[in-house]
């Protein structure tokens, strides 16, 4: 039976980061996911801690935040751990399609709902969207492309917006992926650029749905900028997220090139645990069940959508290792009174509590499994949605979990 040094369970940003960190350390890595992971859903920019206002130095902001939130996953990594992991992440995306920050602090970028959202690292194709003003911005959607309405987005941003026809007949109803593929073709993007230029009325920045190509997005942006004569930026929108697919593909390509084994499409249905150690996990591809073994395991299975956490009518549980889940005492305490209110719903803070090394612990703080580490959004005591910390937590804890798992 083949043995790996590390098995990473979960193909979201946390799992991919952990696998990549481990493989750079020379480990034999198996990464498994029941599906493609959350990058395709939410992956766009890299939020670290959007709760820190733009203009405030992020290092100082996060350091203060950690002091005030000693239970937060960031208290396990510290600012130094976050910074180190972000450097490693950025190294995976060399120019031209790189990730950049607006100085040392957060910036506000427009969303597909027409709101402004704080974030830290942006792919270069979104850089010109940071700090837009209404007077100089034009939002462009495509007729027949249902996932992004230029005029609705612009209405909320209080700037001008148009929905233009696509340059080729018969493209109405195309998916985001199909559009991204067409953008990779020079003739298509050139003629699209001409249409956009004809719509421009002196605006200096043009916002488009985030479908500017899969293969060479930076070149797509530059070509469009050249033709239109204005800065061009992508606006994140509904899933599937093309920028998320780019991140996923880059990680997968890198991991496979470095010798990692990638298994995707079947759930991990069981784990064998003996004397506080995981001895193997089972993957079910009907009618076969196969057991995979490693020295160490990283659990990065996400929350409710990814299947890392499971809620029945009364309790939240972790279905694979049956780890203790920190959660409100009663179901009645799961939610705030109203769906949209500024304070996080208490259930958002539910998850797995760990020691400083990210190993799961019980209510008394005792380590439950000695060779399992936990990373990403499944961790307890963060409010990733409200504090805008989703990708930062994934990258920083994925990185730390792999380091700890391999240097025990």
């Amino acid at each position: 039976m083949r043995r790996w040094d590390l098995i990473v369970i979960g193909t979201g940003l946390a799992g991919l980061t952990a696998a990549r960190t481990a493989i750079e350390m020379g480990a034999r890595v198996l990464i498994v996911g029941r599906g493609m992971g959350s990058l395709v859903l939410f992956g766009n920019t890299i939020d670290v801690l959007g709760a820190i206002p733009p203009g405030v130095d992020l290092e100082a902001g996060v350091t203060n935040w950690i002091a005030a939130h000693p239970d937060h996953p960031y208290a396990r990594t510290g600012w130094a751990g976050i910074a180190e992991a972000l450097v490693a992440f950025r190294e995976l995306f060399p120019p031209p399609y790189s990730f950049v920050a607006a100085g040392m602090s957060n910036s506000l970028v427009p969303t597909g709902a027409g709101t402004l959202r704080p974030t830290y690292l942006l792919p270069v194709t979104m850089r010109a969207g940071a700090g837009i003003t209404a007077a100089e911005t034009l939002i462009v959607g495509f007729r027949g492309f249902k996932d992004f309405q230029g005029d609705t987005v612009s209405l909320h941003l209080k700037c001008r917006g148009v929905n233009i026809p696509l340059p080729r007949y018969g493209l109405e109803g195309l998916s985001a992926l199909a559009l991204a593929r067409l953008m990779d073709e020079e003739p298509f993007r050139n003629s699209l650029g001409e249409v956009i230029r004809s719509q421009k009325a002196g605006e200096k920045r043009i916002g488009l749905p985030a479908v500017l190509g899969l293969r060479e997005p930076a070149a797509v942006m530059e070509d469009l900028e050249g033709i239109i004569g204005a800065r061009v930026f992508e606006i994140p929108m509904l899933p599937p997220s093309i920028p998320g697919v780019r991140i996923f593909n880059r990680f997968r390509e890198h991991l496979i090139a470095k010798g990692a084994t990638f298994l995707m499409g079947n759930p991990v249905t069981g784990a064998t645990v003996k004397d506080g150690r995981c001895e193997g996990i089972t993957i079910c591809n009907p009618p076969l069940e196969t057991t995979y073994r490693a020295e160490s395991y990283i659990l990065a299975t996400g929350r409710f959508l990814g299947g890392g956490l499971w809620a029945d009518m009364e309790r939240v549980s972790e279905p694979l290792f049956h780890l203790p889940v920190s959660q409100p005492t009663m179901r009645g305490d799961w939610f705030q009174e109203r769906f949209f209110q500024p304070e996080a719903h208490p259930i958002h803070r539910a998850g797995i509590v760990t020691d400083m090394a990210l190993r799961p612990v019980d209510e008394e703080g005792k380590t439950v499994l000695s060779n399992v580490w936990v990373a990403g959004s499944i961790l307890a005591r963060h409010e990733a949605i409200e504090e805008h910390s989703r990708e930062g937590i994934a990258i920083a804890t994925g990185y730390l979990a792999a380091k700890r798992a391999l240097t025990l």
């Binding site: 029941r34 109803g173 985001a176 992926l177 199909a178 298994l263 499409g265 993957i283 009907p286």
Partner: protein
């Protein structure tokens, strides 16, 4: 202690498990090139909620699904999307009736042996422009699609008549499922499989076998697929019951035998067969990891590109061929980072679908041009056919390349010259 995992949900309730996250929309090769197919989310669980056994099918685009199953491999909710599509397609075609062309194409196993025997007549005939025009007009087999040549002697014929291996009695036995295409159209793949297995110390059996049945699934003929499966189980089960493992070299045949005979077709004995059935590269890699082989490969300083077939992703065994190829010293091996070659098996031969398969394949051709390899390697005969047509380059099964990299030339095997 072993934790029991999730219990299986009956598939008719599974559309409701879909959370409409649209991950499948990021990989579907058909939706990538045409708005005529609404994509897995809509065609599978979306439309399934409105389908009823008692009502006639309304969605004619269901036929545009190629059954590549990439959607299944990315779904975070475990929805059997391609199975829902397949069942809807079967119902649609049951109601509408299948064309003579479809009836004929899925029975290539019946006339393959005969075509191989008369390959010197059949091959030029199938390249004749008038014949292709006729096939195009009458049967709607697209004339732009290159038809594969037939070869004689067939693999089975070659295997039956070759000199016996001298020490075969003392060697561990292994059985080989070659599939129809290897038997009559790409005999060298079968020869390579036998050579590699023998180089690894096995005595090779070739049990009686029929078409795996996956072409019939492609036209929604579940009953036909079941019949083929039943016949194969009857001849393959005794082999595994004797304790002999079976390896396959065709990804799609392997997927059909291993994962459809049981879960989809409910054939008795399917699970027992599946437990002893392996992809040939998966098997050889496993031997290596268990320290049961010391076979090494000769250096070959070529630039090669490997393409992973969609059905290999559904087998979910990683990329064993790529891992074996990395053991060839000096080989500069690149993974082609592209989903789906576009052929979809017999799908790509049909006139009304040819443009879709060409469009999907174009992305792959661009990637190949960027890598510019001397040889392209892929486990699936459909992918190989499509890549040959798209790129006009040499395309081999990885085991052909590995066979040629074995230390000593094997008696009775001519190396493939790329």
């Amino acid at each position: 202690m072993t934790h029991a995992g999730e219990t299986r949900t009956p598939s008719h309730t599974l559309p409701d498990v879909c959370v409409r996250c649209a991950t499948c929309m990021a990989v579907c090769p058909v939706a990538r090139v045409t708005p005529r197919f609404p994509g897995p989310k809509q065609a599978g669980p979306g439309a399934q909620r409105f389908r009823s056994a008692a009502e006639a099918s309304v969605d004619d685009w269901i036929e545009l699904c190629t059954s590549c199953r990439l959607c299944d491999t990315v779904c975070p909710a475990g929805v059997p999307i391609s199975e829902l599509n397949l069942l809807a397609k079967a119902k649609y075609l049951d109601e509408r009736g299948r064309t003579f062309r479809d009836w004929l194409l899925v029975r290539s196993d019946l006339f393959g042996e005969m075509a191989a025997r008369f390959s010197r007549i059949v091959n030029p005939l199938m390249k004749n422009r008038a014949v292709r025009w006729l096939l195009d007009r009458v049967l709607e087999i697209d004339r732009r699609r290159a038809l594969p040549d037939y070869e004689y002697p067939t693999f089975r014929e070659w295997f039956r008549t070759r000199p016996a291996v001298t020490d075969s009695g003392s060697r561990p036995r292994i059985a080989y499922f070659h599939g129809c295409f290897t038997n009559t159209n790409e005999v060298d793949v079968g020869k390579a499989a036998v050579a590699l297995l023998e180089a690894h110390g096995f005595a090779v059996d070739v049990p009686p076998q029929r078409c795996c049945g996956i072409p019939r699934l492609g036209v929604g003929d579940l009953q036909g697929a079941k019949e083929m499966g039943g016949r194969n189980l009857a001849s393959l089960l005794p082999t595994v019951q004797e304790g002999t493992d079976i390896v396959f070299s065709s990804t799609s045949c392997g997927l059909m035998l291993r994962h459809e005979y049981g879960p989809l077709l409910n054939l008795p004995g399917a699970e027992e067969l599946a437990r002893h059935l392996f992809d040939i590269c998966e098997y050889l890699l496993r031997l290596r990891e268990e320290g049961k082989t010391d076979v090494t490969f000769r250096p070959n300083p070529m630039k090669a590109a490997y393409f992973a077939p969609c059905h290999l992703k559904s087998l979910n065994i990683g990329l064993p061929a790529l891992e074996l190829l990395r053991l060839v010293p000096g080989l500069d091996i690149h993974l082609i980072e592209m989903d789906c070659c576009g052929l979809g098996g017999l799908y790509g031969f049909k006139k009304e679908k040819y443009a879709i398969t060409e469009d999907i394949g174009r992305d792959l051709a661009v990637e190949v041009a960027r890598i510019d390899p001397e040889v392209i390697l892929s486990d699936c005969e459909g992918c190989r056919m499509q890549i040959r047509q798209l790129t006009k380059r040499t395309v081999l099964h990885p085991i052909q390349f590995l066979r040629d990299a074995l230390p000593q030339p094997i008696a009775g095997f001519s190396p493939t010259s790329p």
